[in-house]
Amino acid sequence: VENVPDPQILNPRDAIVKITSTTICGSDLHLYDGYVPTMRSGDILGHEFLGEVVEMGADVKNLSLGNRVVVPFPIACGHCYQCRRGMFSICENSNPNAALAEKLWGHAPGGIYGYSSLTGGYAGGRAEYARVPFADVGPIKIENSDLTDDQVLFLSDASPPGTTAPTCATSRRATWSRSGARTRSGP
């Protein structure tokens, strides 16, 4: 465990969240095992977390200080072409290092917390505080105080793929290429 500087508001659409629960995801093994390059010593990992909003930028209007929020792992601007289609994980604006990812993978994902430079270089949630960019788009308010952290934490990552998979499997508009990449076809 290391002491690091507290995160700061860098943009008016940022918020700072005081972490109350976080996880270790199976995807973190890809970082640990070196399958995802561009990690650096000192990187804060953790892309699944929830906590309390303790600071907000001037443009975050949908949250209030003290709100309990689950933070989904994709960082999405909410305004680009892909976000407007609901494809938040490939947001065109939230990854400042998109050019790096395009060189390596052929396309760039949006930003992801604590997941290497290729996904933007954002600090993750395995810390006391985390900066949440575009906080007016991603965080989910948990207004039912009866729900424990363990009951809602997985909304940050594990639950979305679980609910998306059946949708993809039953979509008539989606086909799968031989490489496994999802492509679109006619109705």
Binding site: P7, R40, G42, G120
Partner: protein, 54 residues
């Protein structure tokens, strides 16, 4: 893309313009606190707050 001079700007500026136009802000991460920068993509700092050293 080169790490200095105009080469980096060729890559950075359209992305910066698009981000500002669509979101009103320039995306900044903990590794790139100054925003989109080809130079920073090559020489990354750790993903933790710069602690006011932006």
């Amino acid at each position: 893309v080169t790490v200095n001079g105009r080469g980096s700007g060729v890559n950075d500026e359209p992305r910066r313009f698009k981000a500002r136009l669509e979101t009103g802000v320039e995306p900044r991460s903990d590794k790139t606190p100054e925003g989109l920068s080809a130079f920073r993509q090559i020489l990354q700092r750790p993903a933790q707050s710069a602690g006011g050293a932006v």
